[in-house]
Symmetry: C2
Subunit: 225 residues, 2 copies
DNA sequence: CGCATCGTTGATCAATTTCAATGCCGGTGG
DNA sequence: CCACCGGCATTGAAATTGATCAACGATGCG
């Protein structure tokens, strides 16, 4: 679950932590590394910044007193995370894998001092609303197979690499994350994936490395007539 | 499910439709009546306006090809609905009961020509994101009783009127709307409500008129240890 | 007064959760 | 270098839950 050497080499300009609280600032002061499993912010924290995911994958979640957790979203490169309600964050956010984010002042959301940035963030907020609506459709599916199929297709659309024998998809998050994202148990996620494998829709060379062999078939699973 | 005379009388200035496409405009040209069951916009429509709910209740939903429907949200007075993605709406929106909305130009979201309005809309968007996250928590609950209890409590918080014997809650939407909102069948919603009634948590004088007698008990149902 | 729609209740069945055990892999330390 | 350990993934069997199908009741409206 760590960056492989070749992946790390894509970030030659990241040899240090450029935390925004750091005293010394470089030209990269707006970038911040988030090692795997480390929290970027927690529910209730003051929301000073929004974060644009540049590399890696973040995990936004809410945890209830009884321990149950809902994964709200996975932050992929291009996504903006950290939209606050009032002045505080209303989710936890941590990194699934080593990640890099670019910070933007929260005030840029409301002030028009930088119109370009402002438009960018506003549109990101609208995109976020729409993405959450998509997530609702996934969650409202009654069958586990529909949810998991829709999840795989969405992940493939965002991060998949098409190849000769299908779309390779890196499943960086753990099964329990997927389960908490889809409102299922980890066991059901597993079983559904093996089911897809036995149906020839996907292959799983490792638990993290999937390949969609039959996109149409998976689509049919995601949204049966 | 229609406005009663005394409720209608709260709107003395609304004797006509002031649709935004109307040629003749009065001082109330930014207000628009939406009769019960009428659509305010449909998925795919150009999003020229955002709508601030002033009176009544709107229903935002997405419908799939296979006919299944997910109710995304209920728009209550104070809510802004119609946040677009790109230039089009991505949900259907219709009125649960006779309603009144105030229109705001979509452009006000990105332009800062009117800073007050801009701030207002931006904050509404952020509130919307947070509300949808709350909705996720409801949907991710495994038990029907948790979902329905959480739904009732949320509705009570927004629209309930505290009284001597509990919190009176008007359930204006139909059972199927609640079901599609929570990802349940109408039958299960019914059964769960009856169950709550038999447990003494609520009363139901009519199908639309509930009264929460035991808030703590309902909270326990919504979020069991 | 009858019809249509919505709400409620009942019984059955399919699906998922839960509990339990095993397998797998990477990391660690001898 | 290899064996052990711990977390994660997977599989199995049983129990619970909600969906579905069906019928009935209530309510508002023509």
């Amino acid at each position: 679950m760590y960056l492989k050497p070749n992946e790390a080499s894509e970030l030659p300009w990241l040899h240090n932590d450029f935390g925004h609280d750091s005293g010394t600032r470089s030209q990269y002061r707006f970038f911040q590394r988030v090692p795997a499993e480390r929290h970027l912010y927690m529910e209730g924290d003051d929301a000073h910044y929004l974060y644009e995911v540049k590399v890696g994958m973040l995990r936004l979640a809410r945890v209830l007193e009884n321990g149950r957790r809902q994964v709200i979203a996975f932050g992929l490169p291009g996504d903006i995370v950290g939209f606050p309600q009032g002045r505080v964050h209303h989710t936890d956010c941590d990194a699934v894998v080593d990640s890099v984010v670019q910070t933007h002042r929260r005030s840029a959301l409301e002030s028009c001092a930088d119109p370009r940035l402002h438009r960018f963030l506003t549109r990101a907020a609208l995109r976020e609303i729409c993405a959450m609506q998509d997530h609702f459709m996934m969650l409202s599916s009654k069958l586990a197979s529909e949810k998991v199929a829709a999840f795989l297709l969405t992940l493939a659309e965002r991060t998949g690499t098409p190849g000769a024998d299908g779309i390779a998809v890196k499943i960086a998050m753990r099964r329990v994350d997927i389960a908490d994202f889809l409102g299922l148990s980890t066991e059901t996620v597993c079983r559904t994936l093996t089911q897809f494998r036995e149906m020839g829709l996907i292959t799983l060379s490792t638990a993290q490395d999937a390949c969609i062999r039959d996109v149409a078939g998976l689509r049919a699973q995601a949204e049966p007539a």
